[in-house]
């Protein structure tokens, strides 16, 4: 292979990887060390297994959210759509006596339809996605309650298999979520589609005037977010063997928090799925650690909120130091 030109983009080195993810990994390790020292049972196989079983659904939602944030949009409907998709699966199995594959397909379809609605409406009428997805937040939650008549649908062991299956000691949902992270990261960094996502989030008008229609890209990202939310809903339904119409309340904020801790810009054009994965882990470890310390719920929320703000401040400094200005 020919020698690389002096002005070519240097290939990623370990040093650059460390620069990219070092801060997040450091913060994660620090949290684990602190909680391990302060509590007796934190550093244990069971505890980490519990965390690994908890994160898949929020991780899937956060992957979708990160993609939406990168194109400079937002999806506030994820929590409600999760409730709706779960309700569809639950009602299909308990009341309509559908088979598991049929019910799962219907659940996934519900997520895709919600994503299509969000994307199409905001593109067709040029509405801010904040407003459209806020409307969807209400509509999907209303739909979930209407379908279930506000009753939790107990499905039983017939759906248990999805969340119960394990591979190399970790659950199927965990591997599924990890797969979503890897695939989305590859799409973002190694495909034309991903490059368009970043470009649109940076300057949509420049992209349009370069002869690229931004609308199909944006629509696909909204649909992907809906689909990932539906996957998360199926995992949760399987894990609890029931569909609760209130499932996913507040997920939109947790997902945004994870993305932001990972350094995704709310202004668009910047983000990474691997970083979002660390963001999810940090929140999960923080929660588990505070629980182990016996902290009450209100204290956990206080600390988590403070960590989000600190993470963003830290990220600002990191980017200023590396000379990259924010695309405001």
């Amino acid at each position: 292979m020919a020698k690389q030109s002096e002005t070519a983009i240097p290939r990623p080195t370990w040093a650059r990887w460390a620069g990219e993810y070092g801060g997040l990994i450091g913060a994660l390790v620090a949290l684990i060390v602190i909680f391990s020292l302060r509590t007796e049972h934190f550093l244990s196989h069971t505890n980490f297994l519990a965390i690994a079983n908890q994160i898949p659904s929020i991780l899937l939602v956060a992957v979708g959210m990160t993609c939406v944030l990168i194109i400079a949009e937002i999806d506030l409907s994820v929590g409600s759509v999760l409730g709706l998709c779960g309700a569809v699966v639950g009602v299909a199995m308990t009341q309509w006596d559908w088979s598991l594959p049929m019910a799962v397909t219907a659940g996934l379809l519900a997520g895709v339809i919600c994503g299509l609605f969000n994307g199409l409406v905001s593109l067709a009428w040029r509405l801010p996605s904040f407003i459209v997805t806020l409307g969807m937040l209400e509509m999907a939650r209303g739909g979930a309650h209407a379908l279930t008549r506000s009753q939790t649908q107990y499905i039983g062991s017939s759906i248990e298999g999805i969340a119960g299956a394990t591979f190399l000691g970790l659950s199927l949902p965990f591997w599924l979520a990890m797969g979503a992270v890897v695939v989305a990261q590859l799409v973002l960094t190694r495909t034309v589609f991903g490059r368009y996502m970043i470009a649109i989030g940076t300057n949509q008008e420049a992209v349009r005037l370069s002869g690229i229609d931004p609308r199909p890209v944006k629509l696909a990202v909204f649909v992907a977010s809906g689909l990932l939310v539906a996957l998360a809903a199926i995992i949760d339904t399987s894990r609890f063997q029931s569909a609760n119409p209130n499932a996913g309340v507040g997920f939109e904020l947790q997902a945004i928090a994870a993305a932001v801790i990972g350094g995704t810009s709310l202004m668009g054009g910047r983000g990474s799925l691997v970083s979002t994965f660390f963001g999810v882990l940090i929140i999960a470890v923080l929660n588990a650690g505070l629980s182990a310390e016996g902290a009450r719920d209100e204290m956990k929320r206080l600390v988590t909120g403070a960590v989000i703000v600190l993470a963003v401040i830290f990220d600002q400094y990191r980017h200023r130091a590396s000379g990259v200005q924010r695309s405001a």
Binding site: T7, I9, P10, N203, G211, I212, R270
Partner: protein
Amino acid sequence: MDFGAVRVLHGVDLELNRGQIHALIGENGAGKSTLSRILAGFLTPTGGMMFLNGAPYNPRRKRDAEQHGVHMVLQELNLIGTLSVAENLFLEDLPNIGGWVRRQELKRMATAALARVGLNDLDPWTPVSKLGIGQKQLVGIAAGLARQCSLLILDEPTAPLTAPEIERLFVQLNQLKKEGTAILYISHRLEEIRRLADCITILRDGRRVGTWPVSELSMDDIIRNMVGRDLTDLPQRNTYSPGNVALKVEGLTRGTAVQGVSFEVRAGEIVGMAGLVGSGRTETLRAIFGADQPEAGHVYLHGSLKPAKIESPADAVQQGLALLTEDRKEQGLLLPLPIQHNMTLASLGRIARHGWLQPVWEDAPTQKWLKALQVRCRNAAQPVNELSGGNQQKVVLARWLMRDCHVLMFDEPTRGIDIGARFEIYQWLQQLAAQGKALLVVSSDLRELMMLADRILVMSAGRIAGEFVRGQWTEDVLMSAALSGYLNTDTTRQ
């Protein structure tokens, strides 16, 4: 006055007298707006002194200037659309009692102010967003008239006005003049100036050419003084042999900005497009490119007899068109992203295989154009916002050259670019024409066009006001054509 990296004004002296209407004219970029903005406190000068009524005058802000009785009516109106006409008129000094607006008093003041510009029928509580552009301009002027000012600055006030509105405005300005107000009147409508003004100051390249009583200058004198400069410092374009018609535009129309524009550009030809700011040049390019939809007219490409179907920039690029926008930062570049991503943006479909994109594949084309255009940078990973204006422009140019378009449209390709990089870009434009590409270049710099172009189209008030081939043009002729659409106030657009 230094402005950005470019010095805009060079030691300009100006004396304005009470009870006088003083016209300020000059080409685009001559420094008219900068000078008036300094007077009105929007900008602070880097050198020099100002005196108002004999006392030193150093406004730090717009508010300072207004307290000294200096008020400016801006060309791009600074009215707030959601507020009412009355509130906009007196926004800085709303009549109030302890913060509560006295609505009756406000209405009385507003009605009086509006009557002065002939807007007697306008309800002062109408939101400004409901007004037409001409009415907005009148409201802006009314706000200026309503204040006790010793100096009123008007920047191109008549552009959106109809003939009767202009007449009414002139009556009011003459009234103010009688009351002893000094008026600085910026316009490129020479006939209006000759009717209204007492004296004229001409600016050129940020320097004052001179000040004359209006009666001493003929129209020809004015034009000569606006453009007169030596042309020896730029190389002349070599002879050319144009090929087939590559771009043909017929009857292109969009609103009042573009009205029935028709022309052709041949392969291997550089066609310049001259005109004043607002004459519809940018709008014409955008309509051809599908960035805005034209209301009428057709575009024919590569000699085809069938009109090209261009409904979006994507369609245009697909058919070999390229547009380098006037505003690099807002409409061209992805500022925080690496040079490489900016350059390959329009060509990713060709670089990628089945949508899959290995960053290594982008290296070869990027390096080729970095070298060819001599972009000065650390490496291809450097964010473009760290580059100088000239190098940024080269990055945008590389985006289109990589895409291999056949018809390239450039909107002010050398704006804000230092002279060195300018010559490199000129050389590139000539080279592209030699390769058989068709080039359409919009520029406000007549010298630039006269050096570069094989033909020059002059736009004025939304129409093609003249077409000149090399050898037929002089700066005076081009400037006359550019002004021609604005000469007769009867044909003013509303």
